[in-house]
Symmetry: D3
Subunit: 226 residues, 6 copies
């Protein structure tokens, strides 16, 4: 049976549990899935500095667990250190931002990405550009979550609702791995697809592992270090 490890780049036990629960709900009996935190990292990833601080722990987790799992998912919507992990890994590695944006682009004309603060907008726009998804991005929604961040379900739903009314957005992409718990409620309220990145990455990772499609080791992700 396919086994997937979700690497939570931050050290939050709380968020790790939420992610793992949602992932297992999705996995059902198709595959085994675990989620581990990154103990040496900050407990929330916002800045470029945070991202660089997550690298050593993420590298270590991947190298240690590489034999035990068939694929890996990076559970932070900034896809931190994704290229590095693809390079050192012999198994598929999927980022939740790349998977969610690319699936979103198959479901409707344009998507909007939901954030809980404007600090992450530049990095998110650069990521959209990196993946060639500029044409499919309608807007980045900044939800007013009254200091509760990804735990404020109502704040997030209302911000997304407003975006659907006032812009050409047709699909919502949740811009943080911790937002997965709101997916069903938001999708029901809004009547449009709401994409949790972790689920999207699991969809792709499971497919790659099952069909034994590897990462290309031809050049970009060739592991010259080991």
């Amino acid at each position: 049976m396919v086994k997937i490890l979700i690497i939570n780049p931050n050290s939050s036990a709380d968020m790790t549990k939420v992610i793992e629960k949602n992932a297992r709900d999705f996995a059902q009996d198709d595959f085994l899935v675990d989620c581990v935190p990154n103990p040496t990292a900050p407990d929330f990833i916002v800045t470029y500095d945070d991202i660089s601080k997550t690298a050593p722990g993420m590298r270590e987790i991947l190298l240690e667990k590489q034999e035990d799992y068939d694929a890996f998912v990076i559970a932070c919507h900034g896809d931190p250190n994704l290229d590095m992990l693809k390079e050192i890994s012999q198994k598929p590695v999927v980022g939740i931002a790349e998977a969610s944006m690319k699936i979103a682009s198959m479901l409707g004309h344009k998507f909007s990405i939901l954030l809980t603060g404007d600090r992450g907008v530049p990095a998110k726009e650069n990521l959209v550009h990196r993946y060639g998804m500029e044409r499919f991005l309608e807007s980045i929604i900044i939800a007013d979550c009254k200091g509760e961040g990804w735990k404020n379900q109502e704040g997030m739903i209302q911000a997304a609702e407003k975006a659907l009314e006032e812009t050409m957005a047709e699909v919502i992409v949740l811009g943080c791995a911790g937002m997965g718990h709101v997916t069903e409620a938001m999708q029901e309220r809004l009547g449009v697809p709401v994409l949790d990145g972790v689920t999207c990455a699991l969809i792709v990772a499971y497919g790659l592992a099952k069909k034994k499609i590897p990462l290309s080791k031809k050049r970009q992700y060739r592991n010259d270090n080991r």
Copy 2:
């Protein structure tokens, strides 16, 4: 259990069987999958005229089978009539070109698409552009198949091998639904990911159906006709 119908836009019983066999090999016990041909269409899709001739049959199949399946896959790498089927369908519809290109872009720097003739190059390039994948396309490979088309396994493998040696391609995308049978052999010979579009579309379609992620009916695919 999730049920997926693969609609083969052409009328070839031969190709339908090959596609169905490969699809079931991939599905294993996760989901049920059937493949049906389009009896009123040409037996191979090359031209714009062919595409428009496949529309009535594809529409009819989808409308008739909509209650019986949880998701649909269009098994022609031109993604013929994909927008139309997404519009009339209440269930997810996935094109094999969109799925394979987007998954390819997650596996390496650039992909090349394998064709068996140059006639399809302009339409393929327009499709790549439509999906925002220009940056990830290294080249379109024209295999010399000595008139045997997608059945000439060796011709296709050698053409892909040459492209890997002479260009920056890191991933191969098979540019025809009928090429699925060559995937494993080519991947083994070349040592890079070789993507069969039908498998890629099944990966996405199965995930969408399982998680109950719908197409957006907000605007582009709103079904105003029914």
Copy 3:
């Protein structure tokens, strides 16, 4: 004398008459022009499904009339089935969207396209992208036509006027073949170029026919079916 046939992709006799009258007013003694409806199609083209339903009739009209005319114009601003008709035709075929956008881009910095509802926005944006005209599109204007659609002249003029005041638009492109009747009045009121797609396509089609410039049959529009 050059003879041009305007194919109205829909079945509306009403709109066909309006288009033909405007076309003949423009043609004067330079060329003969007729407009025919597509009896087997819906009477207005909105959805992707509508577009695919117009294909058989459009193909039939073109094949039947090919010997009698020197060029063809597709009179729907979605350019439905344009690639297919270019492929099967031995004579020039011009779409009113491609002609009007490309001429608009020669007259001022940016143009806005006028629609009477937001349903068509995604398809229109994809068409703009297909033609490389993204840089020249300022906005898509949604006129509030109180249910009268393209017949509500005042609603369309006011919407365009507002766009000129509030955006950087410098040219107006009418987004529906049936809007041609408003061209002169709108241009006079607004003081900027207002482009009727049918006229723009006739300009190009007449020039191509007169100079005997064919469509390229080298690859994209090679007619392999006949």
Copy 4:
């Protein structure tokens, strides 16, 4: 009757005559057309310095002749001073590069532009980019004309033929106003559309003048100087 003035930006009487003859052959009885040289300019336009030296004479010609003609064509495939002339003119002004590239993009997948030396490649690529035509440019062909430039018909035809065989080009755009004389012979030999810029600009200019479609004077071409 519509009257069009072709402004030849250079001072070559020779080239002016060739252009005028071709233009009148095309005009037939539809419109009157004259071509004037620019006596204060160099006799061939290659460099940026040449372009700036053509400006005073072109301005003067346009201002003097503005009342006598209904539209103007700039007969140099670098579209020199085109924005300036559009700005000072009350009548339509059409560049032969913009018209020929935009019409070329309606006739086939990709076009190649024929030059007689590599000096003009950077400026030509910048022009293609300015007009949003990058996607439709296959290549720039450098014909070896053995020092005879645009007068060496056979050198130009052979270079274009080679491009059609070795690249994905489907349409040829002649990259110099003086090449118009080769159009028919080249089109006949190559079997694909060969576009002379002057003819393309006349097609558009005649249509604009006949339909009384003005340049937009809203902002970019507002004449604040007079």
Copy 5:
């Protein structure tokens, strides 16, 4: 010691003095810098016609002074005749728009360009496009300067402040050579980088001259005329 000549494309003695003073304040003892007006040009550059009228004087200044200076700066934020001067010059020539936009893109996610009227917006957008800076442009700010133009310091600061609050702008680029005097006050008030184009161009020109990095004379700027 490196000597740089700033060519003010317009004839305003007033603006020339302001530019020269700011330039010398920046130069300190590193290099000598002079600024000369263009006596045969209009006293302010707004239109395409203005630009073409500045060419003869700019050419003459450059050719006369070429031996006496090590680099040249064009002090108008439309970079008028920049390609032409690069072509005829044997020494580096730097435009203030190209230098300021490219430096701005190194300092923050997106910049906004400050203008004092909307007339210049189309030309500015085309310049941004010419330099590949579209991705880094947040907006063009139109300051309401109550008829005083670039002399109204408070009007410019307030407009930039508003843009920082309401948009994603992170850097301000002053869109006119005459605005240099406001740089320090605006930067202090707004707390973000405020770029004066003349300073940016001097930074680059001084570096090129000091390191003896020439313009490329390979093709685009090859001086075939002399």
Copy 6:
């Protein structure tokens, strides 16, 4: 007097010395410049893993030295951790890739980047894309350096020479910080500008420090961690 610190992301004392010597030759008496290696990093940076391993040392150097210098330069042509350092720094930080590509684009139509192996091509192309420089990149040149890498001067010069002959390249950008020693010899042999990234970054860093132009701390590089 302005003081600039060049951070060499790798641990090579050898390369650090070469870089420092070239930098001081350029600085002359204008500014003080030091170069420090990154002792905890690999001695050459090739892979994504290398880049992530350079982060802790680069962070530490910058934080320790921040009070002592006025600007920082990152001396590796992959611009490793550049966004992170800009974020944590109160002083300007300039990457040698961003500076060299942007200056290259001011000197000629298109530049080519010189590498000594194909492994770095994907990361380099992504960097070019990140900076909006795609239009100005002619090619990436892979020099055959017979295992001597950036120390093989003749191998690099011959590869660049070939690129100038066979492509449209007009400017050479050295793709590694260690190649600076070859600049003068290559420029003299080839007759086109040859850009050493360290020099280019010093040009910009010195200008920013001298004029006291800060990084924007508005959003992307806001230091929320400290």
